[in-house]
Point group: C2
Chain length 516, copies 2
Amino acid sequence: DRQAQKAGQLFSGLLALNVVFLGGAFIGSMIFNNVSITLGDVWILLAALKVLALLWLLYYIVGTTRWPQAVLHRDPHAGPVWVRGSLVLFGSCTICLNVFRIGYDVSHSHCKSQLELVFPAIEIVFMGFQTWVLWKHCKDCVQVQTNLTRCGLMLTLATNLLLWVLAVTNDSMHHEIEAELNAMMEKFSGNETNTCLCLNATVCEVFRKGYLMLYPFSTEYCLICCAVLFVMWKNVGRRLAAHAGPHPSSPPFRLHGAIFGPLMGLLVLVAGLCVFVLFQIEASGPNIARQYFTLYYAFYVAALPAMSLACLVGTAIHGLEERELDTLKNPTRSLDVVLLMGAALGQMGIAYFSIVAIVATRPNELLNQLILAYSLLLILQHITQNLFIIEGLHRRPLWEVAPRSLEEKEAEHSRRGSLLELGQDLRRASRAYIHSYNHLNWKRRILKEISLFLILCNITLWMMPAFGIHPEFENGLEKEFYGYRTWFTIVNFGLPLGVFYRMHSVGGLVEVYLGA
Amino acid sequence: DRQAQKAGQLFSGLLALNVVFLGGAFIGSMIFNNVSITLGDVWILLAALKVLALLWLLYYIVGTTRWPQAVLHRDPHAGPVWVRGSLVLFGSCTICLNVFRIGYDVSHSHCKSQLELVFPAIEIVFMGFQTWVLWKHCKDCVQVQTNLTRCGLMLTLATNLLLWVLAVTNDSMHHEIEAELNAMMEKFSGNETNTCLCLNATVCEVFRKGYLMLYPFSTEYCLICCAVLFVMWKNVGRRLAAHAGPHPSSPPFRLHGAIFGPLMGLLVLVAGLCVFVLFQIEASGPNIARQYFTLYYAFYVAALPAMSLACLVGTAIHGLEERELDTLKNPTRSLDVVLLMGAALGQMGIAYFSIVAIVATRPNELLNQLILAYSLLLILQHITQNLFIIEGLHRRPLWEVAPRSLEEKEAEHSRRGSLLELGQDLRRASRAYIHSYNHLNWKRRILKEISLFLILCNITLWMMPAFGIHPEFENGLEKEFYGYRTWFTIVNFGLPLGVFYRMHSVGGLVEVYLGA
């Protein structure tokens, strides 16, 4: 049984690997040799993959899940509500993006091939259906047709991964839009060019804006889909222990009298909102004035040290606490930690590239010094926050009964005679434990304050890039240094990961808060 | 205790991550903006890292290991002899490479800065000392100053990783040599150019040849160092169970009457040697005739299907065998499997890029069709061989006493009275088991034949790229398609991994052979 599972995982993993390599070679060829392999070829390959994945998803819905005893268990840890929510949110954004693209293409129909409309149409169907299936079935532990299901899941995952790679590296649409804007400028100044121009200027403007604004969401959507599909793949054929029963319900979210942390957090949130609104108003014009960049970076330079300090204090308090560490294996938590560390790489990568670009060019302007400080603080903040969250996740929460180890059970087994007394003893001891902790001691109180502060801060820092502020791209410094395409790739690789990191941090911090 | 270990690993991992990111940003800047960040800057950064790592290595030797009880245990699985051997072999090659580079620079001293000689000199000291330390201490499980040791190991690992990244992406020396050759050609035809020319032509020729031949070894050396350092890092603070005792000695390598496999393998080896010698003689000239490429690829196209078939038959026999699967956790084996899969990615990546390039250009020439077949077969062979080796590693070897699980022990504990009888029973059963298997049944015999055949084939396929045949680079097809720099990066990334894969496969296959 375990052998069949291993073999199935190995085989489906190899399938995904080959699909990803083939697609990666296609995309690489497109980038480095634009003549022989065009974007159209890559689209055809991806369309074929999407159709295949779609067929499998359809079969999964009408075939596999209808079998008797197909889904006996549902993994309570998989697909928490915030993941499913963001799946639907970003999924609808991606569909909107494709609608805008169709609109843009139609309004340029006099100089573009009609055939190109097929690709966004396929993408809309694929994304819509996939979102629906994942929403409904992300907790499934399928027990029938396990090998087919594994291969299907891996095919879908590979498709999403390739869509992400293409979205990260393909800036042709952005180039096209920029070329059109330049052509319009030139038209005003009297020079005629042969660039394809829009039929209806205002409608086009809407499509263009919408496309550019929604673009980061679609890259994020692919990443989240990959994570969900990976968890489903891990869960294929898994049998949950029946006695584990339902997920231990977490205690309700109460403030426990924490005041200082939420207040400080609200302050950051309000300040962030002001900066966000000011920046967005300014960003609707063609050029953003220097002072707004200064404002944006100054906000970060003020907020990040406070967050880092809070994390350091929190880590120190974790070290002081006498509560025992939960060192048992816990796959969900391990995945959480890996995702947290992995997602942090995105922003840290951007920050390091910024640092090198600034140091190598002109570190004596105020704005550049601000960006330098911002990048350094961002790295520091990611490191300290990761330490704090990981330390916090490893504390055993008070409400969860410590799973008794095998030895204990065996020991109990041998002296079954005295079992009843033992049970009563245990219950008495645990009641006293919970009682003594209900009056929060100062350490737990500070931890709760810190967690709440960090939650609000992370929400602020999530909101700004998620809803379209990308000064990394607009300030022009690094774009000039690395060249358009390279910086586009770096930012599009790092930013969605950064947004994902903030979301994930909020999730982790809520757990730390509840467990503190 | 476990908490401190986790924290130390996290902290040192973050340190390495940041060093790698910083260096990666430097190297990325050098590639995409050659003006602001030059190769010299990257060299200065790396020299600083090397000096730091060197200081730590020195401290480790004279400080840490001299403490009382510093190294109580030595991990018997770490640093097998083939790893240490290749470490020394490739290490000396890297040192030779740097000697050649110094020679080349000195013979161009009239038009080059003397300061550049510092960098190869530092590299020679670093590589030499590192190789010596790793040779002596790769099995250590250090118990004192664990945090410092972890950080030092991670710093050294990051340095090696950056050296690898630089070696993979930096083709400036190759460009320089090519430019000089072109300049010499032009000089013969009467045009004077201002390229820096060598003072003594024959000596220069030796340095140049030596440099180009040894280059792939240095990239491999860095990879192997990273693997060894990672294992050492994992072993810091580890306490081996005392009762585990010495490593169960594997049975001596005997042929068990296998004839057909070794004979076929020897045939492949001899044919490979002939192709190798012919190709090397031809390659010493300026251009390689088309027929030698045809010969080389034809050899592969003949050998690879045989290997794939053998792997498939072996996997099928594994499936037939009734021996039980060893599903216990085994960190060494997990690392083995991960390294095998990871190293396979190198050749598979090259193969996929080749396929796309050929399909996109002209698939109707004989040589190109051969290359296409070669690439497809190479992918197939990697997949089947991985399946075969992984399946084989998961069989429990006959000579190893199955570690009794906890429950069994407990059960034994409870009926301690009858322990003596039980022990005698067990011993009798196992003796009968070994006896019945001493007369090899047909399945085990075929498995042994297949393993021997594959071992010899992998040695052949290891030898050819390791000692300087790189038709992927010299046939010019993909170089033209992707551009020089891109293809240089892809090949330099993939080929050393491919060579590592063959070495690692041989190790895995020997284990499969002994266990069959």
